[in-house]
């Protein structure tokens, strides 16, 4: 049987979910027997080279690039999984949701304690190459259809492993109480 192909990405996230994913200890040896990675920071493949079975998404959508990546994932993956609070509800980046975008940018580049006197020309990043910030942070499932959700900040390694194992092998998902957390 050919291995399941998985892709992973971190959008508006902190890479904590990827760290947690790698926290599966010796099962990482089972993992490479079980799956093959395509586009992912784990093997540093930048673009999809084929259709994938499972896409693991970390982080919500904060800018136009995140939306583009997310739509690419939907196109190339049969199953998409929102991994972690940021992908599920926007997480900490979503704390900006009640604040007007101009205030956020001014705080970051003009008025914040680390930038206050360092930007005398009051330059705001506006290069065409830079992705535009969205009006607010969107959970992944508000942009594309998401098939499964794994909560946690970060989701416990056991939860990610159990879910991936269940998805690949078709077994029932083991969901013990201790691994199911929102923080």
């Amino acid at each position: 049987m050919s291995k399941a192909v998985i892709a992973t990405t971190s959008m508006a996230g902190c890479f904590g979910c990827h760290m947690s994913f790698l926290d599966i200890d010796e099962r990482i040896l089972d993992l490479i027997e079980l799956v093959e990675f395509n586009k992912s920071p784990i093997d540093d493949i930048k673009h999809f080279t084929k259709q994938c079975d499972i896409g693991l998404l970390e982080g919500g959508c904060s800018n136009s690039e995140n939306v583009e990546v997310l739509k690419e994932f939907r196109k190339h993956c049969k199953i998409l999984v929102s991994v972690g609070e940021c992908a599920i509800m926007g997480g900490l980046p979503a704390m900006r949701n009640g604040i007007p975008i101009k205030e956020c940018i001014d705080e970051a580049y003009l008025n914040g304690p680390t930038t206050k006197n360092c930007n005398p020309q009051r330059i705001l990043p506006n290069d065409d190459e830079l992705p535009m910030l969205l009006d607010r942070v969107y959970p992944c499932h508000e942009i594309v259809k998401i098939d499964y959700f794994l909560p946690g900040c970060a989701p416990r390694a056991d939860l990610i492993w159990n879910a991936l194992y269940a998805l690949v092998t078709g077994d029932e998902l083991k969901l013990p109480y201790e691994v199911f957390k929102y923080d």
Binding site: E85, G91, L92, M95, G98, P139, Y177, Y182, D183
Partner: protein
Amino acid sequence: MSEFVSFKIDGKQCMGRAGEFIAEAAERNNIYIPTLCNYKGTAPKAACRVCTVKVNGRMMTSCSTPLQEGMEIENETAEIQDIRSGIIELLFAEGNHLCPSCEKGGSCELQALGYRFRMMVPRFPYLFPVREIDASHPKLIKDHNRCILCKRCVRVMKDENGHSLFAFYKRGTKLEIAIAPELADKITDEVAQQAMDVCPTGALLKKRKGWDVPVGKRMYDMKPIGSEFEQVK
């Protein structure tokens, strides 16, 4: 001495006292009915509706419905569980419940119910309301993002004259809990701690407490809420 009555929960024969509330009677019969706005020792409010059960075919809140002889109560049916789960999801979607950044995490009753019902994601779109955090009081932080308006603090926290420390303020979608600044200035550390414990979420926090209990040792880290009442099967 009140009269004993017999009733059934999901077909199990139970005993209770006539007139006591269904949720209390269920607990003594080792059956857990999830509650959220209810607080032991205080008159029920039936605000959150999480404790909904079906009594003789009709939806009732078990925290406020007095027990009667021969009641047939449905508790853990798929229909009831879906209603409860929907209410919890609605509460998560309605406020800004950022569990990773909340000091109440692990000891929060709303979160614990989310765990119990294995809520992966709310079925409703997140509202992301704009709400204030009030840290102006010396001992207390009020975070309206997390307030579910259960009125527990208003009902439970009283001064020596029996007056509520907290009150509801404004109307409709702007409704929030308030405390008079002069009162808030006077409260002790113990009262602040009590307010934090009474709040089922992290809307009332005692200042300078932080994350003082390690992950794994918090109230609902290892055992689901309500498991203390449930029968050993």
